[in-house]
């Protein structure tokens, strides 16, 4: 049999950033420095806005007395648990919607409406019905993120090329096997988009809950908000915003961006200059 198109080693190399980490993250750090400069400039003219230096001092104080780590840790715990529930529930229900047409017809309009409506509107309802405990906010955050994830999963499933489904059937995949080994991996890039959307909605819900009533989530953000409201001093608020920003930046870089990149590389959606 012909072997004329054997592969060179370059073709075997997976696409990845081979640059050292400091080179790869240089653009991120430079942009961050520019943003800090802009902030410093604005704070010179606006008296009420604490500058980066004051915020930095406050962050240092929070780091020394442990408040920073406590907020960071509690946000991580709260969001991880809520998002895991939302992701598992949303993807499962989305797959169900994608495979049962009558269910899709009945539910999708309501899901679309729920997604359009700010989920934080449920917080007063949940606070009264379920009480002001972390659990009631956790329920709102988890359930609030679900419609976006469900709709994302459902569209991703609907967009799976029928040819791949036919190929799966031809090679003996039916029912659960077809769903797990063909539909799910084929829909994964679309599902990821839904998950990212769900993540941002979940975070909005969390902060809305904190604004509504002091310490609903137990993350400490609410306490900071109410203190700033009373004193009118925004330094602690700005420091907390920096903590939350660092958290979302880390999650995006270390989780979503990495997963998206891997999905794209393995599916040939990154132009790597290979022969096609």
């Amino acid at each position: 049999m012909s072997r004329s198109d054997t592969l060179t080693t370059e073709q075997r190399v997976q696409v990845g950033s081979r640059a050292p980490w400091w080179k790869a993250s240089a653009p991120i750090l430079i942009t961050g420095a520019v943003l800090l400069l802009v902030w410093a400039g604005v704070s010179v003219f606006v008296d009420t806005l604490p500058g980066p230096a004051a915020t930095g001092d406050e962050l240092w104080r929070m780091a020394v007395d442990g408040q920073l780590w406590s907020i960071f840790g509690r946000i991580t715990l709260f969001m991880t648990v809520c998002f895991a529930i939302a992701a598992i529930g949303g993807v499962t229900l989305g797959l169900l919607l994608g495979s049962r047409r009558w269910l899709d017809r009945g539910l999708s309009p309501y899901l679309a409406a729920l997604q359009g409506m700010p989920t934080s509107m449920w917080i007063p309802v949940a606070a009264v019905v379920l009480g002001t405990s972390p659990w009631s906010l956790a329920a709102v955050v988890s359930i609030g993120a679900m419609p976006a994830i469900m709709l994302g999963t459902r569209s991703a499933v609907a967009n799976v090329p029928p040819l791949l489904i036919r190929a799966g059937r031809t090679f003996g995949a039916e029912g659960g096997t077809l769903l797990r080994h063909v539909v799910l991996p084929a829909a994964l890039p679309g599902i990821m988009t839904g998950l990212e959307l769900g993540w941002s909605i979940a975070f909005r819900c969390l902060v809305a809950g904190e604004i509504f009533s002091g310490a609903l989530s137990g993350t400490g953000i609410g306490n900071v908000i109410s203190r700033s409201r009373e004193t009118g001093d925004l330094t602690e608020m700005m420091a907390t915003i920096m903590i939350v920003l660092a958290f979302t930046l880390l999650v995006d870089r270390l989780v979503f961006a990495k997963v998206q990149h891997r999905l794209r590389v393995s599916r040939g959606l990154v132009d790597s200059g290979l022969p096609h």
Binding site: S2, G172, H181
Partner: protein, 267 residues
Amino acid sequence: MSASVTLTDVAQAFPGRERARLALDGITLTIEAGQFVCVVGPSGCGKSTLLDLVAGHTRPARGSVAVADAAVKGPGLDRVMVFQDHALFPWMSVADNVGFGLKNAGISAAEREATVATWLAKVGLTDAGALHPHQLSGGMRQRAALARAFAMRPQVLLMDEPFSALDAPSRDRLHVELQELWADTETTIIFVTHNVREAVALGDRVIVLSSGPGRIIGDVPVSLARPRVVESERVVTLAHKVRGLLDEADQLGITTPREGGDSYVAI
């Protein structure tokens, strides 16, 4: 390992268009076990529908389809399809793609690995097992698709214009390789194409279909020595005769699109 295929007075509408015009009508065809049969016809003559019927993806509106004298009730691993667009799973390595059907058939990991290695070697892709489909050229992808199909040791192999999207050199080479693989495995092959020369070069027998609805208007035995290539003079001469059958059908008033007309496709 091969099985006979029998279609008896089969009629079928185009998928998704119930009660619309028929794709196939009055198809009666017996394919012996181990035979390599090519089906040619203008586009829209129901060639792919014919394969879907044998594969069990659809059921005939009338008539019956049987493989090895058993009526076709649904998809089965004894009948495997090769698609025009390779249809490899983009998220799996080539080796995993080839092993996909074997895994579903419940074959153990060790045996599966051995089978995959054998078939990758037979199609010349031993070094490409760990690569993903997008890292292969068009010809290599279609080879991987062939390996995936042959690895199942199907009784009947259904091929839906598998080489029509390839460049001419890759296609010529795959024509020879397919004939070798078929000779090795002795499986029954139903190969659908709109390319008359390809049909004559590959088939033991060429079934000619007319369009709207698809009916059999010719059954041409090909007894030239193998392996054949499309440029060979005898293939070209015989292809000319088959073309004649298609043209004749056109003159008989069967509605194949006329040259220069809106939907005319050169064959």
